[in-house]
Amino acid sequence: MAAATDDAGDSNEMIRVVSSDGEHFEMPEAAANLSLVLRHMIEDDCADAAGIPLAVVAAKPLAKIVDYCTKHAAKSSGLTIEEAEELKRFDAEFIEVDTDMLYDLLVAADFMGVEGLSKLAVQRTADLIKGKTPEQNRETFGIVNDFTPEEEEEICKENEWAFQITKPPSRLC
């Protein structure tokens, strides 16, 4: 019986992590395993009661990531079509964040090695860029146009083709 609890204990164990600003979070081991970095730490027996310190991840994005991993770990294998749909809806809602949070998630997911989240955030960023004029993109991402008027004129002239926003018909050639 003791051996059996041991086994079960392994998969049910909660992993504690600590954000850069000192906040503690808990998630099931299966969820922590979605992060390459955490998985390696657990395998190397570095997960203890004090929690794994994540020096570059602040509490706000970490809370989101714990949320993401917990949801995805619970639904990782043998998904039905409905469950897959539900997970997709969760992802769509999950990534509806402002650009500040988006950058934090991109950096944190990259640092922690959470592949699914990295992909999700990268796609969200790309979707924000798509179909916009350079001016609209500057506004979305807070980019200051620091070209001199002369430089800008030259760039516009050199790259006149790139400014066509309308979608070209896909089969022209």
Binding site: T99, D100, Y103, D104, L106, V107, D110, S118, V122, Q123, T125, A126, I129, K130, G131, P134, N137, R138, E139, F141, G142, I143, V144, N145, D146, F147, I155, C156, E158, N159, W161, A162, F163, Q164, T166, K167, P168, P169, S170, L172, C173
Partner: protein
Amino acid sequence: KSAFMVNPEALQLHHLPHDTLRSILSRLTFRESSRMGLLSRKWRQLWRSCCPKLVFTRATMFKPRNKIMRRTRTKFARRVNSLLRQLCAPPTLNKFVVKFGLRRKHTCHVDRWVRFCSESGAKHITFDFTLGVKKGSFSGFADEKYIFPLHVFSGPDSSPAHIKSLHLGYVCLSTATTGFAGFANLKKLTLYKISFLSDFQCLMLPECTALEWLSISRSSVTNLTFCEPLRRLHYLCLHYCYLDKIELEAPNLTSFDLTNWPISFALSESLKLMEANIELLNNRTPYGDNLDYIYTELPATLPHVQKLSITSKLYIYDKLQRFAKTSVRFINLRHLTLYSPLWGESGSVGGIIRLAYLLELAPVLEELELHPYGAEHEHQSTVIKKRLENAADVNGSHHLNSNNSTIIQGYLVDNT
């Protein structure tokens, strides 16, 4: 959110790791990703080093629906040159695509782009100059095609290991150029309307043993012989190359697509070949159709095929047309589709009845589809689709179910 309200301390898009920026940019179209390079000085610099792909086509370099082709070739070349100049040193690219109607007189431009492409380490490469060439079977004039410098991709004695796919259209390839070491990891090769300045088989295929997908169409190859087996090849397509000979050891080939006049070819080592589409061009004897070839050569060459489609004209002129029979069979053939436009005297039953032999040729056939008007006139054709019951007896012997045979003969006669 206005640009001026951004906290300078806060994390910004351009602070993200280059790998992340690169994967963001790679999810955009080429135009969208290049526009990001026009936002600010910082972004211009970032785009130069993170730009994941370069796609130069009529659609990306010109306004949509630009019909005026006058002087566009020069304009196209100028725009590509200008963009490449802005990139300074080639970034590591995933994809490099040029699709436009360029010719040998544009060699000085294209040579530069090929060099750039080679230096960028692009994995997927397309140089397709078919635009502006007459459509259809016309394969073009060798002396107006750009000579593609394969040797640019090889180091002193190394083959370019990073190239995964290569698509070339309307160019000349020369084997005379020395210093080409093949493509060690090339998986997919497409050659369209290519002229070869010398024997093709010595060119690059012996050095392309990783090939999984090979398509050669409307190119001047007459003899396709491979010295080394292509062990990973699973798809082979040879269209309108007017080959006289094919010899190939491809043990893992699963799909074969051929449009050619009837020739003997050696593929019998390909035991996994599941599906084949064979279109036979007219053979050279007057009033001779390809039925003898279909009945003897094809089963000998493709004995294991399970799904076969044959397109070939059928000449009918005599009540007593004979045909060749041998002991070879399609031992696994289950689905057969025959596109055979009928020519000659429609009254000649004997000429058509020859088709009934198909049932003997394919003892385990389950489905036979006949298109007596050919593939192009599908709409007006009476498609004869018949599920065969019990086509072979339990032992799989060549016993011909006489009931099925009568049904097919009846269908054929009624529909002609």
